[in-house]
């Protein structure tokens, strides 16, 4: 009896090892560079080249420097600003405001989102307003912010907060709402109730939704800030990208206008690519939610 028992157990053990080997997910190897180049790098490069060609043709057709400048002229404007040492200053003025404002929004939006997600009364009270605020263009906050706070940096931060806090809070709320009930039940049987349940189960489970909210929150921060800088441009505040755009308009300098637009676009994309996309990919990949296409 004992011998068959050990034999049977050993048998199922080795069968199990075999099954594990057969079923185990084989780790995907590193994608060769040539493949990455063709899949990821070549398409945007081609698209950019095509855009520049179309732009150049449009410039020839329009033939009015007051309405449209050539790509080369914008390049010259950028180069001049760089050589004068002003380019990084423009960018830094706006980026530092944007990121600092975003951090404030993060510090306010996160507890607010948690409160709305977990406290039924708070959700019923301000949940709809919070969702509604997301569809209110943040530029609408610039006039009241100027009247409340005057033309200064606080006004800029206020506008960023009003634009980004709803996105961040709503992201967390939808993240919490989408936590599978099974995880909460499993957590409860393990003793994760109350605060422990929130810390060990709900918050980590809600992370993908939260990160999506952060990403959107940054986009809203950046837009709000540009709106504020364009409308409330004031020399004492230092020249950020929004002011640069407004200065270009006042000077009827199409080169400067395009320079500002390109820089605003560039910064928005760069921050997303450098901070938020990697964060999102890391969260999704570690959970097996990112399918390698």
């Amino acid at each position: 009896m004992a011998s068959t028992e050990t034999k049977s157990a050993a048998d199922s053990g080795s069968v199990e090892a075999g099954l594990d080997a057969l079923d185990g997910v084989t780790a995907a190897g590193r994608t060769p560079f040539a493949r990455t180049f063709v899949d990821k790098i070549l398409p945007p490069v081609l698209a950019t080249v095509l855009l520049l060609v179309v732009w150049q043709i449009a410039f020839k057709v329009v033939d009015d420097p007051a309405k449209l400048v050539a790509p080369g002229d914008v390049w010259q404007t950028l180069k001049t600003a760089w050589l004068e040492g002003k380019l990084l200053g423009y960018i830094w003025t706006s980026v530092s405001r944007g990121l600092l404002g975003f951090l404030f929004a993060l510090a306010i939006g996160t507890p607010l989102g948690l409160l709305v997600a977990r406290v039924r009364f708070v959700r019923a009270a301000i949940g709809p307003i919070l969702s509604g605020l997301q569809s209110l263009p943040s530029v609408a906050w610039v006039p009241p912010a100027v009247l409340w706070l005057g033309l200064n940096n606080s006004m800029m931060y206020a506008v960023i907060l009003l634009g980004a806090v709803p996105s961040i809070a709503n992201g967390l709320v939808s993240g919490v709402d989408q936590v599978p009930p099974l995880f909460l039940r499993a957590g409860r049987t393990m003793g994760a109730t109350g605060v422990k349940g929130t810390v060990y189960i709900t918050l980590p489970a809600a992370l993908p939704g939260y990160v999506a909210g952060l990403k959107q929150g940054w986009a809203f921060s950046w837009r709000s800030l540009m709106a504020a800088e364009i409308i409330a441009s004031f020399p004492d505040l230092g020249v950020g990208l929004g002011q640069l755009l407004e200065n270009g308009r006042n000077a009827s300098d199409m080169g400067m206008v395009f320079e500002a637009i390109l820089l605003i676009l560039f910064v928005g994309i760069a921050i997303d690519l450098l901070i938020f996309s990697p964060l999102e990919r890391w969260v999704l990949r570690s959970r097996g939610l990112l399918v390698k296409g």
Binding site: M1, T4, E5, S8, A9, D11, S12, G13, V15, E16, A17, L19, D20, D23, G24, V25, A27, L182, F183, R185, A186, R188, T189, M190, G191, A192, K196, Y200, I201, P204, A205, L207, S286, R287, G288, L289
Partner: protein
């Protein structure tokens, strides 16, 4: 009824005691009775399967025993909080296999320094040595259920509740996991309350099979399975008893078609 039940009641030693438990939910046509007057003891170290067709309230019953829900009438007593294993592995995808187990240890109050070693031990028990750093999505279905089992064992409960834990697995893997569960149950001396709709699985694993009728769930009959372990699902005595139980089960189901 059966001798096992009477014996357990005499010694007052039990891993779980269900005393005239009923449960009803608010349904479209008023209160709907799901479980009706269930009285059941699970002795320490005993392996009991609850068998029933759809609508017998098997999962509701496990939820009650797990303390996730309250009975409408009657009482349930367990020694501490039971561990619960689900049909879906319910492992947390933001943690590795090892960290999932460590979370259970942490919530139980095991000091930080002891957790890693204990988690490795439990992984070895379910024959997943080396899976500590694996993410949930990197494991096969059978491996996930074994990690889930290790996590449930980490709770060190006297009672392990299992809610059709192998129902979603392929037949080959399920057979192997039956062997594993029997081995681990023998090694640890745990009490197990195992819910299934698979008659052969019930007979393969249990010392006692309890058949629940459907709508409402009542204890229809029970069988003591005295076939020695380790059994195989293909063994003649297992097949024989399964046939007998299946006939009774079908009789129970047939009654519902008649009115």
């Amino acid at each position: 009824m059966s001798t096992t039940l009477a014996k357990a009641a005499e010694t007052v030693e039990y891993a779980a005691r269900l005393d005239h438990v009923s449960k009803s939910f608010a349904g479209p046509g008023g209160q709907q009775l799901v479980l009706d007057d269930i009285t059941l003891d699970v002795a320490p170290g005993e392996f009991v399967t609850l068998l029933g067709a759809s609508g017998c309230g098997k999962s509701t019953l496990l939820n009650l025993v797990a303390g996730l829900d309250q009975p409408s009438a009657g009482s349930i007593t367990t020694d501490g909080r039971p561990a619960l294993m689900f049909q879906e592995h319910a492992l947390f995808p933001w943690l590795t296999a090892g960290k999932n187990i460590e979370l259970a240890l942490k919530l139980r109050g095991v000091p930080k320094n002891d957790r890693r070693a204990r988690a490795e031990e439990l992984l070895e028990l379910v024959r997943l040595k080396g899976a500590y750093g694996k993410r949930v999505h990197e494991l096969s279905g059978g491996m996930r259920q074994r990690v889930a089992l290790a996590r449930a064992l980490a709770q060190e409960s006297q009672l392990l509740l299992m809610d059709e834990p192998f129902a979603a697995l392929d037949a080959i893997t399920r057979d192997v996991l039956h062997d594993e569960l029997t081995r681990i149950w023998t090694e640890t001396g745990l009490s197990v309350l195992f819910v299934t709709h698979n008659v052969r699985e019930a007979v393969r694993l249990a010392q006692r099979v309890i058949l629940l009728s459907s709508r409402p769930g009542r204890i229809a009959r029970e069988w003591v399975v005295d076939i020695p372990q380790p059994r195989r699902i293909e063994d003649a005595p297992v097949a024989e008893l399964s046939l007998e139980i299946t006939d009774v089960l079908r009789g129970e189901i047939r009654r519902h078609g008649q009115h």
